[in-house]
Assembly symmetry: C2
Homo-oligomer: 311 residues x 2
């Protein structure tokens, strides 16, 4: 009954004797509880959040539904293990294009161990988090052919420059091949995926309003997952675009202070997406000064307008 | 003609052979150009900003008017030295209550030297910046008597907890003595200083909208100065509340990315001020987890409602 999910783009995948998530055919997602504090923190967050009457319904829909924890056989055959039982956010979609964006220029937090802080501090500087206020943690994009799927390695997308991110955000909503480096993304579906009253931008703005006000939780190192149904859009149907927040293994109490790190990063992502809707062809002449050794011609050559990039 | 300003609450003050700012009686403020990069960066920012046609007028008013640079005799008698000639933002006010709030959970930036980054990183964690998204860098508050002026030392205010900041923000707009530790701040002038269509909150929200959109400048380590005329308010007059941005010695180019660090911190400050207007008596039961050795009874004892503080 349980199987490995097809559409996971980031996070811990089962490998080398490490259990990964599982799904069933009733729309549930089973995430193994991590042994250290992270498992306990994520379970505590879901428990708190799901019974918190101060969370409005229109915000609750951005979080996976929580069905408690359950002992099940781990995916790596290591025996029974407690799993979080969550809503499978891509359940019922046949060709979901998915992007996982880790929000915040900082993934660490004051309460963390010194060792964890130092590791995150270095990563945030190395990847695009510090520069952009977020980093793309993973994605999968379907092309116009069902068989065409672009699922770049995480290391290729998490240290993109601003221009690299612009290209990927355009590819995400394009009708032409995401793989062919000679094609400029046509962002043909920008208005149906990002735009409109139920599009991704509107959903992100709704989240932003709540984060400017809520002082209960700080969602350190949490991701915004953006999903839509590519097959339907290609046939002229609705995009069924959806935003979900995932990964709460580093949530801390807000203690009466807004999550300003999350707000800042979310505002930055919102600005990138707004620009694709309002001025998609504007030339970018200056870019992120961040250095990276990772040259990636696929991502840069499709943006002819850019005069300088630092991928 | 030139004299040392009466109402400076933060920043480099003239001392120990270090030149400080000067003012004249025509409303100009002379800020000595720092010898290192900082002076050049601040002059470059003012030059760029003052001629930047993409800055709307309603935003320009939040920045001191720039009158170029001028060689004048330094305040410490060390001879002629170039100074930035700026608008004196408290000129014409006899009893200005002033608060300097350094915005951002992070005062460093990727382009800075490793040494500078490490120093700021430690300071941001030690002071309230990391926790709150800003820190109070200095303030002066007049009481109901003209002679009564509270001007706490910088080290007393820059590492306040969330509750300490709430108390100071209330004291800032109170009619009773800011010095007497047995008095709860009555925030009698909250609506006339923070509230209304021309109050401080409205001005901060206007700034926020611009910062969510502008990608030209990153105002690292910049301060929001909040000023109003205490004497006039005590007599039932208008508060003449004003917000100004100051200190641009660490500005960097935005390169097409919003200043997400500034946006996050500004949103946090806005939330603190909004709460004083909308739910000033709400008890705060959880507070900033930041540690500090600096016990300050004056600031904590006046907030009876608070169950735990970490000043």
């Amino acid at each position: 009954m349980l199987k490995v999910p097809d559409h996971q783009v980031a996070g811990h995948q089962g490998s080398h004797g490490q259990p990964g998530p599982l799904i069933d055919d009733s729309g549930r997602f089973y995430k193994p509880l991590q042994d250290d504090d992270r498992g306990a923190i994520e379970a505590a967050f879901y428990t708190s959040f799901s019974s918190n009457t101060r969370v409005p319904d229109h915000i609750r829909r951005f979080f996976p539904v929580f069905h408690g924890t359950q002992l099940i056989e781990a995916s790596d055959g290591s025996g029974q293990r407690p799993h979080l039982v969550l809503e499978d956010v891509v359940s019922g979609r046949s060709h979901p294009s998915v992007m996982d964006v880790k929000i915040g220029s900082r993934t660490w937090y004051p309460e963390a161990s010194e060792d964890y802080i130092q590791r995150c501090f270095e990563k945030d500087r190395k990847f695009s988090s510090l520069c952009l206020g977020f980093r793309i943690s993973g994605l999968q994009l379907y092309g116009s052919e069902e068989s065409e799927l672009w699922k770049p390695e995480r290391k290729l997308v998490q240290n993109l420059s601003a221009d690299g991110v612009r290209v990927v955000l355009k590819k995400f909503v394009s009708s032409n091949s995401p793989i062919d480096p000679n094609l400029n993304p046509d962002f043909a579906f920008a208005s149906s995926v990002y735009g409109g009253s139920s599009g991704i931008l509107a959903q992100l703005l709704e989240l932003k309003s709540w984060f400017e006000d809520q002082t209960m939780y700080h969602l350190n190192s949490c991701s915004v997952l953006m999903v839509y149904e590519k097959k339907k859009v290609l046939k002229g149907g609705s995009s069924d675009a959806e935003v979900k927040l995932i990964d709460f293994a580093h949530v801390t109490e807000g203690n009466g202070i807004i999550d300003h790190n999350f707000v800042g990063g979310l505002c930055s992502l919102i600005k990138f997406i707004s620009e694709i809707l309002t001025s998609p062809d504007e030339c970018t002449t200056k870019v992120c000064l961040q250095n990276s050794d990772n040259k990636n011609e696929i991502l840069t050559s499709s943006n002819e307008c850019t005069t300088k990039v630092c991928l």
